[in-house]
Every structure is written in structure tokens, then in C-alpha cells.
Amino acid sequence: MRDVIIIGSGPAGFTAAIYAARANLKPLLIASSVEVGGELMQTTEVENFPGFPEGIMGPDLMDRMQKQAEKFGTEVVYDDVTALDITGEAKRVTTGEGQTFEARSLIYATGSAYRKLGCDRETELSGRGISWCATCDGAFFRNRHVAVVGGGDSAMEEATFLSRFASKVTVIHRRDALRASAAMVERAENDPKIDFRWNSTVVGFEGDQKVTGMILRDTVTGADSQMPIDGVFEAIGSDPRTHLVHGLLDLTEAGTIAVDGRSSRTSVPGVFAAGDVIDPIYKQAATAAGSGVVAALDAQAYLAELDDAATAQIGEADQPDEIERTGEVGNSQDAGDVETANATATQLDPADAAAAHV
């Protein structure tokens, strides 16, 4: 059995992999099939990641993180996780292509998914003028009027990027002030192509084959108005990707995976979480990377405890066939866990189990 499986290929996942690989844990990182590199793959210049004073392109940064993780022995699988079995001591991960992997510990770093407005006709016009990726689709709106919905850093980045192509960029924000960082706000405000529509939310889209307009609601007066528009880029935040762990791990009120204090320890022993999936507030590449370090170190400590417990038990055992069972008992937190752990252990190859404990 492996020591550690990491799920997720953003800054948290790859940084956890760098640390775990350097600790000789030979991590397996499941990177997803189409979103390898995570959210930074859709950004352009990253100016706030330490160590890159000239800035670095998001995809380049992720490429470097992956190379660094692989250099120390991380194995990367390009597939999506479809099922998890984490109740026993062996954490089992099943992928879309039907492969199953097992490890003694798991680091969950699946990040977050773009939020959608959820308003009228949004789904049918997605990809027909409604987009979540300015770097992908901005060039199709040369000399057109586009809107960016949102008021945070990513909204400002999208607006500034789109102004290279569009004739006009209107930022639509539900409040009367931006929450983006000062540097991003200043850049957007000084851009002659960018204007702002304050206290407004989008309640619907218009258009047959493609977006031609949208309905805005004034958050102060409640009045609706129509605005002709050629394209709309949504940047209204993101939600943690936790659908695979519902019912398996405790979540917070914010919907993120609950962890113990400043650690990465989830409600299940041996399962650690890192990055945006545990962070409802900061959600930065650098904080995710730091969070990945925490998870790798926590996993390392957890594995060392398992090994110590197993070694101690093996020392007392006379019969070789007791190795497996005593190892399991030594790791269990309480009597309730013992049964589950033993039930799981019977399905393992005894040679693997013994080797992992020595």
C-alpha cells in the first residue's frame, strides 16, 4: 500500500507533493483529467506569488510546481476521482477510468469551483456569450461591449485583461465599493475602457443563439433595467469542491472541510485537507501552497505514528501472522474503530501490509 495519495493539482496539491516526495513518501497525485493545474491555469500574469518579482504566467507557475514535485518522485495520474472509501485504515480512491488506488493517508486538495449566477437563461447561453474564462474567450470580443460581474481581485483581473480586446468593459457589482486589492482597483479605475455599474445584480440574460443583453436589478431601489451587451464574464467567487466527501468528512458552516485548529487534520484520522477546499476567506495561491505544506507535514507525522505503533507491537509479537492485526489495533483511536480497521485489513495483501509497517 502507498503512504500518501494527494487529490488535486493546484498550488496546495503540488506543494504537498513536493514536501511528501522530499520526505520519501513517494506520493501519488491524482491531478484530474481536464483541470490539471487548477484555477491558475486560467489566469495570466501572477504578480503576487513570492519569488517572482517580474511576475509569472499562471500556467507557467503550475508547470514549475509540477516539475518540482516530479523531480523528487511524485507520480502524477491524469484522471478524476469518482469515489472515496476512507472509513478504514486503508484510504481507497477510485477514478473515472475505473482504477482504484490505496494509501495509508490521503491529502484532499480539490480547491474550489466557479460560482454561477443561477439566473434566468444562464445555462443555455453558457459558451454563447457567457463565460468564466477571460483568458480563453476574451479575444472573441474584439471591439465589443462586455460586462464583468463581480467586485473582487479576479473580477478586476478579468476586466483589465478584457480591455485589451473589448471596446468597453462594464463592471457590474452588487455593492457600491470593490473588495479587490488596492493595486487591482487602481489599475481598473485608471483604464479608460472600464466603467462601473454599482449596486446592481444580474437577474436574467437575453438572446437567442447568443447573449444580446441582460436584465439588471438595482439593489437599492429594486428596479429592473435592460442593458445591451455582447458578452458577460462571471467572476463572483467560488465554492469549495466537497461533493465527494459529503457524509464522509465534517464540513464547516461555510461549506469548507473542517480541520482541527491550524492543522490540516479532518474529522477522519489519516485524511488531511489543504488549500481552497478548507479556506473560505483568503484563497490565494501562496496561502494554498502553505496549506499544502501543513498537510504534507501532518501526513508525515501521522504515518510516523503508525509506524512507531506497528514497530512496538511487532516487537512483542511472536507469530508472524499477527503482524497485520497488531498493526491495525495499534493505530486505532478507540474500540469502535478497531472493528472497521480489521475488516479493511482482511482485504489487503498481507505482504504489502507487513512491508508498509516495517
Binding site: G37, G96, D137, A139, F140, F141
Partner: protein, 106 residues
Amino acid sequence: MAIEVTDASFDADVLKSDKPVLVDFWASWCGPCRQVGPILEKIADEHAEAITLAKVDVDANPATAQQYGITSIPAMFVFKNGEVVKSFVGAQPKPALERALAEFIG
């Protein structure tokens, strides 16, 4: 194997093809396009009898991209006897793409 199609060759390679053609509109600066490209190639390889994969770089071939009203990439269009019979956008995992293409790849 995918064929590279240009504004000049689109008519002969796609519209006049005997086989259904899956056209992948992409660009080098589009991260999701780079991610979905190899998956489309894998699907096309597995169903080479049923479908041809054609890649159109929208930067180099703006006329074709404009003609089909591309505003979001990656955009996947299936052409049969010169007509668009299916279109969808966005990078998706292999099983989702296979479902979207089920009527053409069996």
C-alpha cells in the same frame, strides 16, 4: 490522429468529408483547450472508423471561427454531410465527452 484544418482546407477536409468530423476549435493561449485536446485525440483514436478529429486554431483561422460564431473555446462541433449536427463548449472529462459524442461513436 487529428488533422490540422485551416480556413483554406475546411471545405474539403470537414464539409466534404464522407465520415462525421469532430472539429475542435482551440487556441494556444487557452489552458482548457490544451487540457481537452489530448482527450479528444484519445477518443478519436478509439473510434477512428466512426469519426475524424479536426483541429482548427482560431488564431490562425479567424474566418472559420467567425462563421460558426465561436465565442468560447474549447468549442467542439460535429459535422455530418456538411451540416453542424452537434455542438458543445468547455473542457470536460473523458466520460462526459464520450456521452456527448455517443450518437457518433456508438
